[in-house]
């Protein structure tokens, strides 16, 4: 089974704790990495890629010291290694402009406002991970428990 990673980036420790706690349900199938800064997140993602594993999903805050979440998203979308990586901007502080930029020039997949609802977050992550697994052509059976049904079924219909 290929190793998938969810990278969480937030400069606030408590938020990171709360976030990863909510992601626990995915942990049997996906590895979760916590990062406190954009730079750290990038290092971790490069390491994951070097190991031959996949960064399936990046969940990032917007307002952080040094680099913003949108900076990270832009860098990610420009990097061919992470072409299939799905992204969530999880923030309460992104301005209209930030968000537009994230969508237009960083191909943001999803925007979630803080404080997030656990169920919404789960549903979104399921959908995005399913899309990632299908995009990458990974063995979907191994991740069945955490995949979104309708996305999976719609995709399987197209196979022969």
């Amino acid at each position: 089974m290929d190793k998938l990673y969810i990278i969480c980036v937030d400069d606030q420790r408590e938020v990171l704790n709360a976030l990863t706690e909510d992601l626990e349900v995915f942990e049997n199938h996906v590895k979760i990495e916590e990062c406190e800064s954009v730079k750290e997140a990038w290092d971790v993602m490069e390491e994951v890629d070097n190991e031959g594993d996949y960064v399936a999903l990046l969940i990032t805050d917007q307002v952080m010291p040094n680099n913003t979440g949108v900076d990270l998203l832009k860098k990610l979308s420009a990097d061919i290694r992470f072409g299939a990586t799905k992204t969530i901007l999880l923030t309460g502080q992104a301005t209209h402009k930030d968000t537009i930029e994230a969508i237009n020039s960083a191909h943001l997949n999803h925007y979630i406002e803080k404080p997030w609802k656990k169920d919404d977050l789960h549903a979104t992550i399921k959908t995005l991970i399913t899309q990632f697994v299908l995009d990458k052509g990974l063995e979907y059976q191994s991740y069945m428990d955490i995949l979104d049904q309708s996305v999976l079924l719609n995709n399987l219909r197209k196979t022969t």
Binding site: M144, L147, S150, L153, N155, L156, R157, K158, T159, T160
Partner: protein
């Protein structure tokens, strides 16, 4: 991680040991080195397919690769040059091994894939389902029967997985409107994969095990598309009705009304009409080979040629073809080829005194073994492994003759492979249904086991009837 490594290690070490043993260790009269190698390859295939340390289609490719190197006429020079030709045995033509990639059976399946793909692309499947479902009204019982009939019908021409995916995506939104605590949800969710599994039996292209079986139904045992359907369809219908009744009995539906909504309308453009026409024509040609003389393999090229020519299936669509399924079957065919061509199959049958066993015991044991194996591993891999052995038995055991011979036992075993639907891991359709989260393993296993047992008994009854009417 580590368990995966252990599996890989076992799957490699055991065959290598077999390969290194002295010939005398096998206690088989006249066993040649080539045959010993085929045993090793067969053992490796079995272990790889059962333990699955690598994807099952990769195992198929590995089989073909190893056969080419170790036992083909163009293999590695140092290991195929015999010291004494007598003890070495006969090498297999490398062309024959490679031909398995484009064997007529593979082409037949490719034709089926083209049909299925075009049908999905031009929404023939969805629109057909909409029309066919209409007469069944809104009474949940009848809706469920309709759902099962349509699923079975589609899975005769489309892959069981794609059919299940389609029908579940229609069904899942409706599950939400069931009354809370209504067991009918379970019934509906199980109806789809069960019907898809059963429906696959209906045509030679319904499911890959059927394709594998075709490899062993040649010469006097040849079976046409039409006669396969004539044989299998009644069986499918009876089993489907039984499954329907069983599900209703176990999981009665208390929701008074169910409405499956299927969106979309018939496409009315040139390409869509070509799809409709070609679909109908291909099936018609398959069923009427006695008139025009083209066998099902030749007819399979009709959709391939037409859809490609009109750009209905384009380059991008070609990527979506399940080449892994085709290659999985190729590997099975190559394995059977090696067993036959090396003479190993015959030798094994001659060595083990099967002739003394009752033919009924042989039939029952192979079908039961096939069914049990298929519950835990891929149906195709099961048939890949078991059918060459069964075919060897069928052709050499005289006592089977009166009961239908090779043709009978191959068909009985093939049908048994499709009978496995007790566990979520038994088939991809089961896994998809299970993933909807509306049922527990136990709820799937109970009717699954009963359907399998009844299916086996019906299987024997079918063979008996077919024998009496002189089908074989």
């Amino acid at each position: 991680m580590t368990s995966q490594r252990i599996k890989l290690l076992i799957s490699i070490l055991l065959p290598v040991t077999v390969l290194l043993l002295p010939i005398s260790a096998f206690q088989i009269e006249g066993l040649t080195i080539v045959e010993q190698r085929v045993i090793a390859i067969f053992l490796m295939a079995a272990l790889f397919w059962i333990l699955e340390p690598i994807p099952i289609y990769a195992t198929s490719l590995l089989i073909i690769f190893l056969e080419l190197i170790m036992v083909s006429t163009k293999g590695l020079k140092f290991i195929i040059t015999p010291d004494s030709p007598e003890e070495f045995g006969t090498l297999i033509s490398y062309k024959d091994i490679m031909h398995t990639f484009a064997s007529p059976i593979i082409i037949l399946f490719l034709g089926g894939f083209f049909l299925a793909m075009a049908a999905t692309k031009y929404r023939l499947d969805q629109n057909l389902a909409k029309v066919l479902l209409k007469p069944f009204g809104e009474n949940p019982k009848w809706v469920m029967l309709g759902l099962m009939i349509i699923t079975a019908l589609f899975s005769m021409f489309m892959s069981n997985t794609a059919t299940t995916a389609m029908m579940l995506s229609i069904l899942v939104p409706v599950l939400a409107v069931f009354l809370p605590g209504d067991k009918g949800k379970v019934a509906f969710t199980l109806a789809v994969p069960f019907a898809a599994n059963v429906g696959g039996i209906g045509t030679p292209i319904g499911t890959p095990p059927n394709a594998v079986a075709l490899k062993y139904l040649t010469g006097p045992d040849y079976i046409s598309f039409g006669s396969w359907m004539a044989m299998a369809l009644p069986y499918v219908i009876v089993l489907l009705l039984f499954a329907w009744g069983l599900l209703l009995l176990f999981y009665p539906i208390s929701t008074p009304k169910i409405k499956l909504t299927i969106t979309g309308s018939w496409l009315k453009n040139r390409k869509a009409y070509i799809v409709y026409a070609t679909f109908g024509l291909t099936i018609l040609l398959w069923l009427t080979d006695f008139i025009h003389g083209m066998n099902s393999y030749t007819v399979a090229m009709v959709p391939v040629a037409v859809f490609s020519a009109f750009g209905i299936i384009n380059k991008n669509d070609l990527k979506n073809i399940s080449w892994d399924v085709l290659w999985l079957v190729s590997g099975g065919i190559a394995l059977g080829l090696a067993l036959e061509a090396s003479g190993l199959a015959e030798r094994l049958v001659n060595t083990i005194p099967f002739g003394t066993f009752s033919p009924l015991i042989i039939i029952v044991s192979v079908t039961v073994i096939a069914m049990l194996m298929a519950n835990f591993m891929s149906h195709t891999a099961t048939s890949n492994l078991i059918l060459p052995l069964v075919a060897a038995l069928g052709t050499s055991i005289m006592s089977l003759g009166p009961l239908g011979g090779n043709k009978m036992i191959v068909l009985a075993t093939t049908i048994s492979c499709s009978m496995s639907m007790a566990l979520p891991i038994s088939t991809p359709p089961n896994a998809l249904a299970f993933a909807t989260g509306t049922l527990e393993t136990k709820q799937m296993a109970k009717p699954g086991v009963i359907i399998a047992i009844v299916g086996l008994i019906l299987n024997y009854a079918l063979m008996y009837v077919l024998d009496i009417i002189g089908f074989f």
